[in-house]
Homo-oligomer: 287 residues x 2
């Protein structure tokens, strides 16, 4: 039976840090504020938005919703984004991506968010910060969530053999750089990797961010392994939310594992809000 690395405890610790900063901001008459941009009515976007708004309310962080119909014009969208970029009372901006690809260029979008307010770490400058290990903007929230869970549960990273499945800019690439900066030996695998299961089975820590429901089975594991499951998707077969890992099969065979739901997903929103309150502090030049 593996140790279950629950996200809630990690999130609570991050929220506590946020609350301290929020109190400091309120004493200075600053109301930390997140602007959320959503185009259309995608289920995943609405679900993340609802969760974020709920947690913002709990922590007394203000949310401004910019909602647009699926057929919004490029001009109207960017006018509003520019408004939020310049508004001194908005400290963080989250845009649900991708926008409709027939009209919106994702590179333009990512780099149109004021870097100081880019709390989801999606702009080239924020990504450069993750790559170079410099303090430029915020890291991507999901990538940071992975490091936070390892840190909270005192899992040693230095010199460890860590394998990451997935090479996206949201998680695979940034998390590999962040782990490398903490002295892990990092292997990055993906759909073109040969002998994937065999490579993963040698990992001391396995980070699964492939985005394929339950693709990680017993062949990927070893009994001393720590498994971090970043995936979350609808499992048609089992009619429930599942991660990249076949939890029922893998959990009895490894040392520790994050559950889905209730693992990494439970931490991401807390990190986003932590970035918002830190951005509010930075933008108002509080030490």
């Amino acid at each position: 039976m593996a140790r279950i690395l629950k996200g809630k405890e990690v999130a609570d610790a991050i929220n506590e840090n946020s609350i301290n900063i929020i109190n400091e901001l309120k004493q200075n008459n600053i109301n930390p504020t997140l602007a959320i941009f959503r185009v259309g009515e995608k289920d995943a976007d609405i679900s993340y938005e609802t969760g974020t708004m709920k947690k913002c309310k709990q922590l007394d962080v203000n949310v401004i919703n910019y909602l647009f119909p699926e057929d919004v014009s490029v001009e109207e969208f960017y006018d509003k984004l520019e408004e939020a970029n310049e508004d001194k009372n908005i400290h963080g901006i989250l845009v649900f991506r991708p926008l409709p690809k027939d009209r919106f260029n994702d590179d333009r979008l990512r780099n149109s968010i004021n870097p100081s307010k880019d709390v989801d770490g999606c702009s080239d400058l924020s990504l450069a910060g993750t790559f170079t290990n410099k303090d430029l903007g915020f890291p991507a929230c999901t990538a940071q969530a992975t490091l936070e869970v390892l840190d909270y549960y005192n899992i040693d990273i230095e010199g460890k053999n860590i394998v990451i499945i997935g090479r996206s800019l949201v998680i695979g690439k940034p998390v590999s750089m962040m782990l490398l900066n903490k002295n892990a030996t990092v292997t990055i695998c993906h759909t073109k990797t040969q002998n994937l299961a065999q490579i993963c089975s040698k990992a001391e820590i396995l980070i699964c961010s492939a985005g394929r429901v339950e693709m990680v089975n017993k062949d990927f594991t070893n009994k001393n392994q720590i498994v971090i499951d970043v995936g979350i998707d609808w499992n048609e077969k089992k009619q429930k939310l599942s991660g990249d890992v076949d939890f029922d099969e893998v959990e009895p065979l490894v040392q520790a594992i994050t559950p889905v739901p209730g693992g990494i997903g439970a931490i991401t929103t807390s990190i986003l809000i932590n970035h918002v309150v830190k951005a509010a502090k930075n933008l108002n030049h509080l030490k």
Copy 2:
């Protein structure tokens, strides 16, 4: 006996591409020009400068040398750099780094070079391009040299297990991202890696950029391995230039290997010049 992957042939192919672009530029009355900034008299800088100037002369690329004494003031240096940034007749800028650390901040320096002229790919924007696989500035020359040698000798990368020793921004990190973008499975090792030799011995392609003379010995290899040696340093014991690899010991045991000197080092300058002529083309809006 391994196949020797000589750099000269690769450099010749790159130079041929440069010559075509140079001819096109000259037809448009553009003289491609590289500005080289050097502070002080470090041997390694002067050696690289001399090599670059020689190759520029061969290819009919203009060089302007900005030379400063070791005690140059920060103001004077940046005034000249700004001059080169704005000079329409300068297309590429190479600065020997690091500058004296007591006065010069390396992050400021890297990001003070006009990104369009950053032919050595050291600015955050250029690095972000390598990280995100987008066309932002030029990749670091040595990292690109590694990919060029694999490409020239038709060494398949896709799905291959490639291990990189070293995680610097000049070579380890960018080369890992560039190989990942070409569908390799990439492992990044460094001084904190446990069981380094054992990990390396499993690699189908081993890229050595540790910067430690002859640290890679027979224990790091296997008979099907391709070894790319990026290191170049003075070997006190043998009183000659050596790479990271103990060539005499490793060469008989692997499938292919780059020599030092005459391997990667022979390609880097050609890539730098190729970047200069491409920058000249871009800056003059030639298709």
